[in-house]
């Protein structure tokens, strides 16, 4: 499998340069109940998902990518 991920700084690069950071679940403050939901109940969607990637072997920036979890199509 070879995903290609578009880094906003470096352009489209093979996925082995990146680290996966899980679903994008925006941090919404310090309320314990919403925090707990956010941390422990991922949506785990079958379909298009917003997820976080880190360009570890590149510019080391974090950004959000949309990927279809069924087909691995990105963007």
């Amino acid at each position: 499998m070879t995903l290609e991920i578009a880094c906003p700084n470096c352009g489209t690069r093979p996925h082995r340069e990146f680290a996966f950071g899980g679903e994008d679940r925006p941090h919404a403050g310090a309320d314990p109940a919403t925090e707990f939901e956010r941390v422990f109940y991922p949506a785990n969607v079958e379909g298009v998902q917003r997820e976080r990637w880190y360009h570890a072997l590149g510019c080391r920036s974090w950004f959000v990518v949309t990927r279809d979890t069924r087909t691995n199509r990105i963007g």
């Binding site: 070879t2 093979p14 310090a30 707990f36 880190y54 080391r60 087909t71």
Partner: protein, 856 residues
């Protein structure tokens, strides 16, 4: 190719120009090239294109080499893998006589009860089967893994592939063209080769086409990605489009005797005659139902083979050379012979006829080699050339369906009678198509068999068995290519350590001194005098910007906003599950910035974590990784202040540079940031300096410390020093689900902060009792600590913990350690056993619990 003979089972075999291993052996009279996997039947040259299993031999100790596509070279050592005592006289041939007694699924049916029967049978079966022993003494050839990107990958560099590559390049695409052989190398001189050469010239003149010859495509994965392998590299090709131009193979016909040595596919026979000058037999019968078959017939005749009869369709009669008897619309019924072909039985207009011959050449149709295209769905794949052909259906008259696995048509019939009906299920039950040829010969025949017998009960009669990678035999060392890609990280003092004779070892990607001479002596130097250690491996991060404190407060579980410039604090980083993932020392700088030192192995994780939360929280922060730019030397021991003081004018007394704190110093003319650290449990200064000044600073410290008995120390002494202080090595002493409380590090967490990463989880976990914790262990009855590492901790018969670190402590004159203990019904235990030793649970640190020496 190198001229000169090679060795074949104790004799010399002459090699002529252009010979393959197979052609040289055949010229030398070898007819049995291998013994079949299960039945030990004789197998001779058959496909000649590297697609069937028959010609596989052991070359220079490497088993499974396809001799028909391997150029012969002087000095090779060639053997046949199977057969006992030899492939020519194989006593295990009795297995073939017993074939009728060994139905499909024989192993499964026969050795299932009693259970031990399989273990005994397996020993016998393993000795009789297989392709020969794996070479274990050849060393590990170095291969590289690389990644390639193109818009179109064309697999197969025949006429169709070359044309497709040129077409794609003309539309402005970057093209990668690969073939498992050198372009044109498998073709005899003739119009086809001329056409290939002309196209090849144009392809080579096109800069947009990258050519990878002798690279076999192993499969097709999503992306689409096509991995290619040769003996030296593994290339992962990511493309937008895949063009499969892998051609076709001549159909494998099923009739009794179809696996006898002397039965050839047309391409193999004509190449042997035309390219290598060996007529394939003295009396040859040709079955040619295609125009390609006619070409093979002519090539054989031209090369001097005596073709006694040719079975051809009526339309070809005039094309048959006059010295050959043309049998029109005849049907090949059977090949006969014991161990080699003696005659064929032919039906001619209702009449049965026996023709004596020693070679039967079959050219009856083509089956496309379209496996790549059948490996994936929803990928942009285009088949071109012969690979796009509709397959000619092979005859199914009997004999061997699968040459690799010795599956006969009768076996397939039987399997079907037992209820295994579809090609996919027949494959699993009979193991047909699972051998080294990956179904190149038999997959089509198996599918035709399944479809031909299908009735209304079969859901998908047309389905072919799924194709699986690797499509071509590939050396394990090629698949392991990336294993060799190890980046060795070195500090600026690496050469200094080497010159000092240090024993270096791996430590989380770095090469570091384990010890210089005697680790115990190094330990005593630190405890009693002063020691030097290269700690340039520590992660160093500058966190700056107006939200630096907010970021540090979010990422670390402890309080940070009260940290005054010049002071430092031990910090823990948790993940969102509340588990400890990293620790470090946070040093507050003037102006609201921070310098963070993190563990050597966790530096990259720490970097990612800082940047992640800066981005997620939208903070105005710069994270600057200074790890590779800064060196660091740890000066530790009761005389550390004397040593550093001798080389600096700056004040370093306890008031000017307190513990825990830091300041800028100039030591031996080198600008440093000195951090008071407590890891080894003595008065200690970490001197962080520009990397290139490291060797100068190191030698100045060595010289100035000579009278104080200074000694460099390595990781082994450090392990002892930190364990006496009860400091935890994240990763060694910890598990992935360790909360601060389990590690006894709750003091590094401030639950009054409104939020930090992992707080929500810690709040929930706080409601649950602590079931497991890391504890200090004091061993009785164990002279040496090292033997206890990893030992289970037991209470009676129950295992209730595990030792994670253990050493013999010189300070306590006892074996000490850290380990996991589980809470029992009556709380945590006070005493456990580790093997023969008693492990008493004690508070840590073992050494200097008040930290008076650290504060010095």
């Amino acid at each position: 190719m190198t001229p000169g003979p090679f060795r074949f089972e104790g004799r010399e075999v002459q090699v002529l120009d252009g010979d393959t291993v197979a052609s040289a052996l055949f010229r030398a009279g070898v007819r049995t090239f291998s013994r079949s996997l299960k039945a030990h039947r004789r197998r001779g040259l058959y496909c000649g294109t590297g697609e069937c299993p028959n010609c596989s031999v052991t070359v220079d100790g490497i088993p499974g080499v396809r001799s028909c596509i391997t150029p012969a070279a002087a000095g090779m050592r060639v053997e046949r893998g199977r057969g006992w005592p030899s492939a020519d006289h194989d006593l295990l041939h009795v297995a073939d006589l017993a074939h009728p007694l060994m139905p499909v699924g024989f192993y499964l049916k026969t050795f299932i009860r009693p259970r031990f029967a399989w273990r005994m049978a397996e020993r016998v079966i393993r000795r009789g089967t297989g392709s020969g022993p794996l070479p274990l003494d050849t060393g590990t050839p170095r291969t590289v893994a690389r990644y390639a990107r193109c818009e179109t990958i064309v697999v197969g560099a025949g006429i169709a592939g070359l044309t497709a590559a040129l077409e794609a390049a003309e539309t402005g695409e970057r093209v990668l063209l690969c073939d498992e052989f050198a372009i044109g190398s498998r073709l005899a001189p003739g119009p086809t080769l001329d056409a290939v050469r002309a196209l090849e010239q144009r392809v080579r003149a096109t800069p947009a086409i990258e050519i990878l010859e002798r690279h076999a495509a192993l499969g097709l994965f999503d992306g689409p990605t096509v991995p290619l392998a040769d003996s030296a590299e593994l290339v992962q090709v990511r493309a937008d489009r895949v063009v499969v131009a892998t051609g076709a193979t001549e159909s494998h016909q099923l009739f009794p005797g179809n696996d006898l040595p002397g039965v050839w596919l047309g391409r193999a026979a004509s190449a042997m005659a035309a390219l290598h000058g060996v007529p394939v037999g003295r009396r040859v019968v040709v079955v040619a139902s295609t125009t390609e078959g006619l070409e093979h017939l002519r090539a054989l005749v031209a090369a001097g083979a005596r073709v006694v009869a040719a079975l051809v369709p009526a339309a070809f009669v005039d094309e048959v050379p006059h010295e050959t008897e043309a049998i029109v619309d005849g049907e090949l019924v059977e090949a006969r012979g014991h161990g080699r072909l003696r005659s064929v039985i032919v039906h001619e207009v209702g009449e049965r006829r026996r023709i004596a011959c020693d070679a039967l050449v079959l050219s009856t149709g083509l089956g496309p080699r379209d496996e790549l295209a059948r490996m994936a769905v929803n990928e942009p794949i285009r088949l071109v050339g012969d690979a796009a052909l509709v397959a000619d259906e092979p005859g199914l008259g009997g004999g061997y369906l699968c040459l690799c696995e010795d599956v006969t048509l009768h076996d397939a019939e039987q399997a079907r009678a037992e209820g295994f009906r579809s090609a996919e299920i027949l494959k699993r039950y009979t193991t047909a198509t699972m051998g080294p040829c990956k179904g190149a010969m038999c997959s089509l025949a198996l599918a035709c068999f399944a479809r031909g017998r299908a009735d209304a009960a079969d859901a998908r009669p047309d389905a072919r068995p799924t194709v699986r990678p690797p499509l071509r035999p590939v050396a394990l060392h090629a698949l392991a290519a990336s294993v060799h890609e190890v980046i060795e990280k070195r500090t600026g003092l690496h050469d200094t350590h080497v010159a000092a004779g240090a024993t270096l070892g791996w430590s989380s990607g770095w090469k570091r001194p384990i010890f210089y001479a005697d680790p115990t002596e190094e330990y005593h130097a630190v405890r009693e005098r002063v020691g030097l250690m290269d700690v340039g491996t520590l992660g160093r991060f500058l966190i700056a910007g107006r939200d630096a404190t907010t970021l540090a407060g979010a990422v670390f579980a402890g309080r940070v906003d009260d940290l005054a410039p010049g002071r430092s604090r031990y910090v823990l980083a948790l993940d969102e599950g509340g588990y400890v993932v990293d620790d470090g020392l946070l040093c507050a700088l003037e102006g609201g910035s921070y310098l963070l030192t993190s563990t050597s192995g966790g530096a990259e994780r720490m970097d990612a974590r800082l940047r992640e939360w800066a981005e997620r929280l939208g903070l105005h922060v710069h994270v600057l990784d200074r790890t590779s730019e800064l060196g660091a030397i740890l000066v530790a021991g009761p005389r550390a202040r004397d040593l550093v003081g001798a080389l600096t004018e700056d004040p370093i007394d306890a008031a000017s540079l307190p513990y825990p704190g830091h300041r800028e110093l100039t030591v031996a003319g080198v600008a440093c940031r000195a951090i008071r650290s407590g890891f080894v449990g003595e008065l200690a200064f970490e001197l962080h300096h520009p990397r290139s000044n490291g060797p100068r600073l190191w030698s100045s410290l060595q010289q100035a410390g000579r009278d104080m008995g200074v000694s460099p120390f390595g990781l082994e002494a450090l392990e002892l020093l930190r364990l006496e202080k009860g400091h935890v090595y994240l990763g060694q002493d910890t598990l992935p689900d360790d909360t601060p409380a389990k590690l006894g590090l709750a003091r590094a967490v401030d639950m009054t902060k409104p939020w930090f990463v992992g707080k929500a989880a810690l709040e929930r976990l706080a409601e649950l009792p602590l079931t497991r914790r890391l504890a200090g262990l004091l061993f009785e009855g164990a002279a040496d600590g090292a033997g206890l590492r990893g030992a289970p901790l037991t209470a009676g018969a129950a295992v209730v913990g595990r030792v994670t670190s253990a050493e013999r402590s010189p300070a306590l004159d006892r074996a000490i350690g850290l380990g996991w203990i589980r809470r029992g019904r009556d709380g945590f235990p006070n005493e456990l056993r580790a093997g023969d030793a008693v492990a008493r649970i004690v508070p840590t640190p073992f050494y200097d619990p008040e930290d008076t020496r650290v504060r010095g």
